[in-house]
């Protein structure tokens, strides 16, 4: 029997208000490819950050035993020194430096700080050969595609004499061909004795290369399957198998006429002009209805919503938008807002709030004409509006003069919601409205959504949490790789059905 290279025992990691991991166990044997699967937010990436020392020893409970020794990694440097290398989903390469410079960044062959370029290049060539990348070591990163960049990352890992390679969703942004090549490379590494941990939710990939699969759900290890037991059905059941308890407020939908209709919506990538991100989407939302858009990260949901909202994303946008049956122009954010469309972003800190200003100013920002006359703001009216919405959305703050940067995630989200409620939209698009906020605040957000629907607004909720979509929506679209790959009434839907639509759509799209 092969020896155990890594054992993670009872790993528990808490963030303020959230228990991200509780008593997670992971056993990896020397020379195997071990897949870790789970829904978005299940805790896979957190577990890997614990392992690689991104969360230093002491900030979590439990033990990490690597090659027989208990390890206390204080940072990523410690784990790399032992041969554990993690390749993140977002690549960490410097675009304007060459392949060779990137591979040896921070680790250059140098004497007294003077770099020996010949040695660097020679070693880079050797590494590139190993990963099967035919590029000049002096090529700039920005000039090669994402697939090749991934290979550069792997070459970089090899340069550090990797024993345990961790890949976090390595094929998320790769084409089918590049993905296959990458998986073949993993199998080749296995023959050379390198152990890999593959984080993925593409089950066909897991099926193909993994020797074992560990399934994580809600921050707990559900089970570890050996090769002979791996099947898509088994994995899906384990990934989503939880009951919907009363985490969602009850509501009685009163659904009316179609308010928003989007026809044949297509969008191209803003930088890679030839890449089509959104491929002919048709979608509608009715009065009083809560419509969900399910899908995995990178499915194009945010891109779709932002391109719809005043062309805030992408280029060469085509398609039509109808509001109450009439075509409308949504070519700028102000026009979209005027027509009664509001979009609450996924990333409230970057796109939603002015963190260095207080609640009052943030709430009125999208509808300043609503508190002013001839461009002069009526202080009193603004104050009463801010207080009104603070009450309605139950923002917990000392006053509306508190800086939004000092609020908790849940309260920040309520401020962004208030901002858009004050703009009085007919259609409200909520992108991951409960990401990173605690359970109590989630319930409050769901209550607000339910109330808005009962007031007759059409609401579109984009979420990666399937139970959430099943709990609060009336109808669910499933998106994958820029297409709608399924549509179902929430009453007929289940996590299995959604997962199946995604997994099946995977093959179709390639």
């Amino acid at each position: 029997m092969a020896s155990t290279i890594l054992e993670m025992r009872d790993i528990t990691k808490t963030f303020p208000g959230v228990k991200a991991l509780s008593n997670v166990k992971l056993m990896v044997e020397e020379g195997e490819i071990h897949a870790v699967v789970g829904e978005n937010g299940a805790g896979k990436s957190t577990l890997m950050k614990v392992l690689s020392g991104v969360y230093p020893s002491g900030t979590y409970d439990g033990q990490i035993i690597y090659r027989g020794d208990e390890c206390h990694f204080k940072g990523i440097h410690d784990s790399e020194r032992k041969g554990i290398v993690i390749i993140h989903q977002e690549l960490a390469l410097v675009p304007m430096l060459s392949i060779a410079e990137n591979i040896f960044l921070g680790n250059e062959h140098a004497r007294y700080g003077v770099i020996d370029w010949n040695a660097n290049e020679a070693r880079t060539s050797a590494l590139l050969k190993k990963v099967g990348l035919k590029e000049d070591p002096n090529t700039l990163i920005t000039n090669i595609g994402v697939g090749k960049q991934q290979l550069v990352e792997i070459a970089k890992a090899l340069s550090k004499e990797v024993k345990l390679l961790i890949l976090d969703e390595p094929t998320a942004s790769l084409s089918e061909k590049d993905s296959q090549a990458l998986l073949d490379l993993l199998l080749e590494f296995k023959r050379q004795g390198i152990t890999s941990i593959l984080i993925s939710h593409k089950l066909n990939e897991v099926n193909r290369v993994a020797d074992k699969v560990t399934i994580i759900r809600d921050g707990r290890t559900i089970e570890t399957l050996a090769k002979k037991d791996i099947s898509e059905d088994r994995i899906i059941t384990s990934m989503v198998g939880r009951s919907l308890d009363d985490r969602y407020p009850p509501r009685e939908p009163k659904i009316g006429e179609t308010v928003l209709e989007v026809k044949n919506w297509s969008v191209y990538h803003p930088i890679h002009a030839e890449r089509q991100v959104i491929k002919g989407i048709n979608l509608n939302a009715r009065k009083g209805e809560v419509v969900g858009i399910a899908g995995l990260m990178g499915a194009g949901r945010t891109e779709f919503a932002m391109s719809l909202f005043g062309r805030s994303y992408g280029r060469r946008i085509t398609g039509e938008v109808f509001l109450n049956g009439k075509p409308i122009d949504v070519s700028s954010v102000s026009k979209a807002v005027e027509h009664g469309i509001a979009y609450v972003t996924e990333d409230r800190k970057t796109y939603g709030l002015n963190l260095i200003d207080h609640i009052k100013h943030n709430i009125t920002l999208a509808n300043l004409p609503g508190v002013s006359r001839h461009g002069v703001i009526d202080d009193l009216r603004e104050l009463s509006v801010a207080n009104d919405y603070r009450g309605r959305t139950n923002i917990r703050a000392s006053s509306v003069y508190q800086m939004t940067g000092n609020l908790s995630g849940g309260n920040q989200q309520k401020v962004v919601l208030s901002k858009w409620l004050f703009a009085n939209p007919e259609v409200l698009i909520l992108d991951e409205p409960t990401r990173g906020i605690d359970v109590g605040a989630k319930y409050e957000i769901y209550t607000i959504i339910a109330r808005l629907a009962s007031e007759g607004k059409a609401i579109i909720v984009i979420s990666s949490e399937m139970p959430e979509l099943l709990g609060i929506t009336d109808r669910i679209y499933v998106m994958n790789e820029g297409r709608i790959v399924g549509e179902m009434a929430a009453s007929d839907a289940s996590q299995e059905k959604i997962m199946r639509a995604i997994v099946r759509g995977e093959g179709k799209a390639s």
Partner: protein, 430 residues
């Protein structure tokens, strides 16, 4: 559904009560910066009043101080908006120099007939300034070229044109008396002078210059009206907030602040009144300051500029047309740079190639001393004005003391660094 149906409103209320005292403390902390700045200005004034043995506050010197520094403050108003919106403008000194040269050429050299009237020339110059701002703002707003680079180019370009226009190293003048009044003129005494002590008449039957005490009554009236308006509006704003249950600052603090600022203002007004009254350029400056305070505090466009500087992406996604707004900020800066240039030319009585040279640094320093953030989104008009006065009083005071110009720069640099360090330290503590 109504407010009551929101889940758990009680918890929110309970928290309010708990945090009651904290509001007062935090109000004090937030306002400390503002008070601190005014107190620093007063301290600096008192310091120089002593070290210059009373020269600083002499009416003649006060008028000089205003005339020498008003262009800095005028340009600082525009620069505040530029910096709040997250940009910088290095070209303002060169644009001011160029506009001064343009004005002089139009009034003195070029045969323009009735168009060389000072008023017509001034209006044309302000429009040209706006056009320069638009040209620079266009690249910054619509092509996303960093403002540092665009305006650095502008700094070189307009200094060059300024010198070329004046034909190398020569100066152009003298400028018409009517134009010079912009800087060196005083408001007419519409009410008439009030003689408190009649001037002494010497044996030869001539009055001794500077003896006796005559007050410029219009100046006194304007000063009183301004101070009363300041107190009234301050009180009204307080009432409004109180009505809604928000205590801005403790009442005693408010009274002390209002009294100190009013007393200082009245003292200065009195000094002006004993001389020749309020300088015209001070009135221009006062009106502009009031206008910019209003725009930044009360108007939607001001609010949008702050939002843009605070988080440009969030502002765009809130429907704010950030490109157009950026363009407008730079047009405004261009107009104010032009006005600054006119003030400089009017004070010197001629256009010189070096007019406004290096003043962009004083202007930017004034804004940063006034508490604006280099990251954008933070900064107050009053802060920038007080910052400008701090720079001005130091210039003036050190000159009277006979401090070498080289060392004056060192001191100004240290004050700038000190002010910003103090600010950052304060923020981290809060």
């Amino acid at each position: 559904m109504s407010t009551e149906s929101a889940p758990g409103p009680q918890t929110g209320v309970a928290q309010d009560l708990q945090q009651g005292p904290r509001i007062a403390v935090s109000a004090l902390v937030t306002n400390l910066r503002e008070y601190g700045l005014v107190l620093a200005l007063i301290a600096i004034m008192v310091f120089f009043q002593f070290t210059t043995s009373g020269t600083l506050f002499k009416p003649v010197n006060l008028s000089n101080l205003v005339q020498q520094n008003s262009f800095i403050i005028v340009m600082a108003l525009g620069m505040l908006l530029v910096i709040v919106s997250g940009h910088i403008d290095l070209s303002v000194g060169s644009v001011a120099g160029f506009i001064g040269a343009l004005a002089a050429m139009m009034m003195v050299i070029w045969p323009l007939g009735p168009l060389s009237n000072p008023l017509v020339v001034s209006i044309i110059c302000l429009i040209v300034g706006g056009a320069i701002g638009a040209a620079q703002g266009y690249w910054i707003a619509y092509h996303r070229i960093p403002s540092f680079i665009v305006t650095l180019a502008g700094m070189l370009i307009f200094r060059g044109i300024c010198q070329a226009l004046l034909g190398g190293g020569s100066s152009v003048g003298p400028l018409p008396v009517g134009f010079k009044a912009l800087s060196s003129g005083f408001i007419p005494d519409l009410i008439g002078p009030l003689t408190l002590i009649p001037p002494t008449v010497n044996a030869a039957g001539k009055t001794i210059v500077g003896s006796g005490l005559t007050l410029h009554l219009t100046t006194i009236v304007i000063g009183l009206v301004a101070v009363l308006a300041y107190a009234y509006f301050g009180l009204r704003a307080r009432r409004t907030r109180e009505k809604h249950g928000y205590e801005a600052e403790p009442f005693s603090l408010f009274v002390v602040k209002t009294l100190v600022i009013s007393a200082l203002a009245l003292f200065l007004v009195y000094q002006f009144a004993t001389y020749r009254g309020l300088p015209i350029v001070l009135m221009v400056m006062g009106v502009l300051i009031a206008l910019f305070v209003f725009v930044t505090k009360r108007m939607t466009i001001g609010r949008r500029i702050y939002a843009m500087g605070g988080n440009v992406k969030a502002a765009q996604l809130s429907g704010i047309k950030t490109e157009r707004l950026t363009l407008m900020v730079f047009i405004n800066m261009g107009v104010l740079s032009a006005l600054g240039g006119l003030i400089i030319a009017a004070r010197l009585g001629q256009a010189v190639p070096a007019a406004g040279l290096g003043s962009e640094l004083d202007v930017i320093a004034a804004v940063f001393i006034g508490g604006a953030s280099a990251m954008g989104g933070v900064g107050q008009v009053i802060g920038a004005v007080v910052g400008g006065f701090i720079m001005g009083v130091m210039n003036n005071g050190m000159s009277i003391m006979g401090v070498n110009v080289d060392w004056q720069q060192v001191v100004k640099g240290l004050v700038l660094l000190g002010a910003v360090v103090f600010d950052v330290y304060n923020k981290n503590k809060a």
